[in-house]
């Protein structure tokens, strides 16, 4: 990949504030398109609420399908930011500084979107508050033994932690922006800055809080996807009841998270003209991490499938057969190509590793990981232990619209965020430049 570009310290603020204060036509077009796609998804959801879950493709025995697949996928994507940012912060990786905020924002938005899916999946979403622990009119408390409630707790904790982890390093930037803007922007930044004065007490407290939060967030991020895996593994269903599901899901989450981060960074770099900040070295390092996670994913997948095949349990073999050589085989082999072959070939060979191939591989991994989640959820439910109860599943336009719209929602949230806040932490980057690390 190409060599690094030198940046003058006084230019950093100018470059990173420019996208906030100037609005281009392309930005408006992207905003409108994402808004329309999101509105279409909302309309489809409204239709589903009005007509009932019968408008989806969910039929006995497949009652978890597109929505739960998307839920697991988006929770996995959320591992892009906070977890990666925390690891890089704790290991003092110097190259992390232009990457972390973009990554942390992905986490918050992906969690918000992922957290919506169990509610969309509910036939009656207006009673979602029954999940909350308060004594309702039937005097019935939530069942704290249920892995589904573990999920609610884990995701709430992760979302709270991620919002704070995103917010803390934003404070110095918004305090600075408050002094250089007027009108509603000034009021917003002033409120968010909490009277930050840039004193050494504040810098010390911020540094300590970020270090502590990085450690805490690692613990919670790993637990979140482990708990999501246990939604499946705690049941005695074929190819779900597996001891490696926790680490397998965490690996897959980090894998898809890095892929999402690469795609977002490539788009941000191109559209905001941040070539001097998001340099080839950032993509190169993330691409290497992606290859590493691809190998780990392949190892876990092989371990899972090989032990199932060797065990030759009839119920497990029915699911495995459906995935590998049955009706789901095209999806399975597409998943293998997307998650292993493409990243391994394009990024494993140094000569082929460029920003473009890293982005292509990352996009392929996103497709592959969505398929992986689908292949975990649906074939097992379609092949219960009683062969007479076997069934099939095909999504309807409602499910496709809602799931597709969540990608638009992600784009919309990101577009709004990048218009309100610098996508690269200005103070961190200035420190980086003044210390001669660029």
């Amino acid at each position: 990949m190409a060599t690094a570009v030198q940046i003058r310290q006084d230019k950093v603020r100018e470059d990173l504030w420019r996208p906030l204060l100037q609005t281009r036509g392309r930005y408006v077009v992207a905003l409108v398109l994402a808004g329309l796609a999101g509105a279409w998804g909302l309309a489809a959801w409204g239709y589903q609420i009005y007509e009932g879950l019968g408008v989806t493709g969910k039929r006995r025995p497949v009652m978890w399908a597109f929505y739960i697949t998307s839920f697991v996928f988006w929770i996995g994507i959320s591992h892009a930011g906070t977890l990666i940012s925390a690891i890089l912060r704790l290991t003092h990786s110097r190259w992390r500084k232009p990457v972390t905020r973009a990554a942390e924002a992905i986490t918050v938005f992906a969690l918000m979107i992922g957290g919506m899916f169990p509610i969309i999946h509910l036939g009656r979403p207006w009673v979602f508050y029954w999940l909350l622990p308060y004594p309702n009119n039937r005097l019935l408390w939530p069942n704290f033994r249920s892995p589904l409630l573990w999920d609610v707790t884990a995701i709430f904790t992760y979302l709270t932690g991620s919002v704070i982890y995103l917010y803390l390093p934003l404070i110095p930037d918004v305090a600075h922006l408050a002094e250089h803007t007027t009108g509603w922007r000034h009021a917003l930044y002033r409120a968010l800055s909490l009277h930050w004065t840039s004193s050494d007490r504040e810098w010390h407290a911020l540094e300590r809080a970020m270090k502590l939060m990085a450690g805490i967030i690692l613990a919670v991020a790993v637990s979140v996807h482990t708990v999501v895996a246990w939604d499946f593994a705690m049941s005695v269903a074929p190819m779900w009841h597996s001891t490696i599901f926790g680490p397998y899901f965490v690996t897959g989450a980090i894998f898809s998270g890095i892929a999402a981060l690469l795609v977002v960074l490539a788009i941000v770099r191109k559209t905001m003209h941040l070539e001097a900040y998001l340099q080839p070295v950032h993509f190169d390092n993330l691409a290497k991490l992606l290859v590493l996670m691809s190998l780990l994913w392949f190892y876990f997948t092989t371990a899972e499938y090989l032990t199932t095949w060797y065990g030759n349990e009839p119920w497990e073999m029915a699911v495995l057969g459906a995935r590998v050589r049955g009706g789901y085989a095209p999806l399975f082999w597409t998943m293998v190509v997307c998650n292993f072959v493409i990243p391994f070939v394009l990024l494993g060979i140094q000569r082929l590793r460029t920003i473009r191939t890293a982005t292509i591989s990352a996009a392929a991994v996103l497709v592959g990981m969505w398929l992986e989640r689908f292949l975990i959820v649906v074939p097992t439910l379609a092949h219960p232990r009683l062969p007479a109860a076997w069934g099939t599943y095909a999504p309807t336009w409602v499910e496709i619209s809602i799931c597709g719209a969540t990608f638009a929602a992600m784009a919309l949230l990101y577009l709004v965020f990048s218009k309100l806040f610098p996508i690269i932490a200005v103070w961190e980057y200035e420190e980086h430049v003044s210390n001669g690390r660029i």
Binding site: P135, W141, L168, L194, S199, E202, E207, A209, V227
Partner: protein
């Protein structure tokens, strides 16, 4: 009343702090302002912190509250558990773990607000854009503010200039 000195280098600021400490001005009387974090040698202007301790305390407290809450609810409406215990740490351990982490997160954030002093509005802090001729925060500048009585202004000012301050200014607390 405050006296603020402007520096362009961390080393000079460190020297000024050492000199002021020798004259009896403790860390509580000193505040350093800069657009980016300034690293001083250990011991020069340390700010002791209880953030880690409070994070652990927050985790323990919230975890215990969760245990009590779950224990109570399991008995408040008894589910049919098929002979298994009504309250099981194994089955609810994940909830307690997540609540402990939530407690640690909350305590860390509260301690950040407390230790940074952001909950207490500092009216005398330098602004990014000061009035004409007023000391202001700018990239590459370090402002050292000393809380002192007017009778010490001369001695403190001398200290600041001797350490390498390019300018010293009196600031009135407007609160």
């Amino acid at each position: 009343m405050f006296l603020t000195g402007e520096f362009s280098q961390a080393e000079a600021t460190g020297r000024a702090i050492e000199a002021l400490k020798a004259k009896g001005f403790g860390p509580q009387a000193l505040d350093m302002f800069s657009t980016e974090p300034v690293e001083l040698p250990p011991g020069v202007l340390d700010r002791p912190s209880r953030m880690s301790l409070m994070a652990v305390a927050g985790a323990v407290v919230v975890c215990l509250l969760a245990v009590v809450f779950v224990y109570y609810t399991q008995r408040s409406y008894r589910l049919n558990t098929g002979g298994m215990p009504l309250f099981s740490l194994w089955a609810t351990g994940v909830i307690f773990y997540e609540m402990a982490v939530l407690g640690a997160i909350g305590a860390t954030f509260v301690m950040f607000l407390w230790e940074s002093g952001m909950l207490r509005k500092d009216h005398a802090a330098p602004r990014w854009k000061g009035a004409e001729g007023e000391l202001a925060l700018e990239p590459g500048r370090i402002l050292l503010r000393v809380r002192c009585e007017p009778e010490h202004f001369a001695a403190v000012g001398e200290c600041l200039y001797a350490a390498g301050a390019s300018r010293v200014e009196k600031v009135q607390n407007k609160s």
